[in-house]
């Protein structure tokens, strides 16, 4: 399986993502420069974290008009797996590929920490095969990560099972203390309607080896492999 890591000027999680796939999963991976207009040959795309275009205007606002984004949107529309991490999540919401938006943290501070994140759905390619309710330990690092969606939008997310990750305590219970950034309903990650496009603020690609503090992130990246195999078997 071949992963593509979409890289913008100002991305800084691209090499983490490349390493996680190459060394953590042992799968094929290559960067995709934002000036490119094709993602042919890739089976899954990662949109990594960072500060694309210096976060000018808003995180992800300029990156979403990069030449590559047309191909990313087509890839997503074809039902193929796309994972937006941190700034990548912001870019996918700005591009309208994911619902809601990410606001500045209410603390106005950049948060850099390890958090507990509960998996709330296994219907996406990045959570398939993971038991619902599983609590993963993942790092976060962002200043604009407060997930916001209006009440109607939140109802729709719940109805369609689009809330994929929730900040919780170690036991998997969402509490105000376990919400690091004031996100609505402790939401850490969501999917699009069909479930093939997922975005989250925590960094699975920075947790692919115990030596980095944890390897729970590999379970998300690795789930795609299981998903692809499953699809190949059913096809």
């Amino acid at each position: 399986m071949k992963f593509g890591v979409v890289t913008f000027p100002g991305s800084n999680g691209d090499h983490d993502a490349l390493s996680a796939v190459e060394y953590g999963l042992g799968e094929e991976v290559a960067p995709v420069w934002h000036k490119s207009t094709s993602v042919d040959g890739f089976d899954a795309l990662l949109v990594p974290g960072g500060f694309s275009y210096g976060d000018y205007l808003r995180g992800g606002a300029i990156a979403r008009f990069s030449p590559i984004m047309g191909a990313v949107a087509e890839f997503a529309a074809a039902g193929k797996p796309v994972l937006g991490i941190c700034n990548g999540f912001q870019i996918l919401t700005e591009a309208g590929l994911l619902p809601g938006t990410l606001m500045k943290n209410p603390s106005l501070s950049f948060v850099c920490d390890w958090v507990d994140v509960r998996v709330d759905s296994d219907r996406t390619p990045f959570t398939r095969g993971i038991d619902i309710g599983t609590v993963l330990r993942l790092p976060i690092a962002h200043g604009q990560g407060s997930y916001y969606i209006d009440t109607d939008g939140l109802d729709e997310l719940k109805r369609n099972e689009q809330i994929i990750f929730t900040y919780t305590d170690r036991a998997g219970v969402e509490t105000p203390e376990s919400n690091p950034n004031g996100s609505v309903a402790n939401i850490a990650g969501v999917s699009n309607g069909p479930g093939n496009v997922v975005g989250l603020m925590p960094h699975p690609e920075r947790a692919f080896d115990a030596v980095l503090g944890g390897d729970d992130g590999l379970r998300l990246l690795g789930a795609v492999l299981g998903a692809a195999t499953k699809e190949a078997i059913t096809a």
């Binding site: 606002a61 700005e94 938006t101 500045k104 969606i149 209006d150």
Partner: protein, 91 residues
């Protein structure tokens, strides 16, 4: 004969929607209170941009800048915008 395009100046104001929490505005208000300006009950922080736009007339300039706000300058999930077009300067 089509009218020649002229330069218009557009002021763009972007603020968070009323229902959206504005932590920066709250912090600025607290700062004003610390200075003794207790009469300030609310501050809403936002962005201000100045654009120079070529258009045939004021309506066209306004329509064009409104579209720019919808597509890029403003995140309409959480923000709202106001545009004012100034008369072209005599050259």
């Amino acid at each position: 004969m089509t009218a020649a395009k002229r330069q218009f100046h557009a002021d763009v104001f972007i603020t968070l929607k009323r229902l959206v929490n504005d932590p920066e505005g709250i912090e600025i208000r607290n700062g004003l209170h610390n200075l003794g300006y207790d009469d300030v009950s609310e501050v809403r922080a936002g962005k201000y941009m100045q654009l120079q736009v070529e258009a045939a007339n004021e309506d066209e300039a306004l329509a064009s800048v409104n579209e720019m706000c919808e597509r890029l300058l403003c995140n309409t999930v959480i923000e709202e915008f106001r545009v004012s077009i100034l008369e072209p300067q005599a050259t």
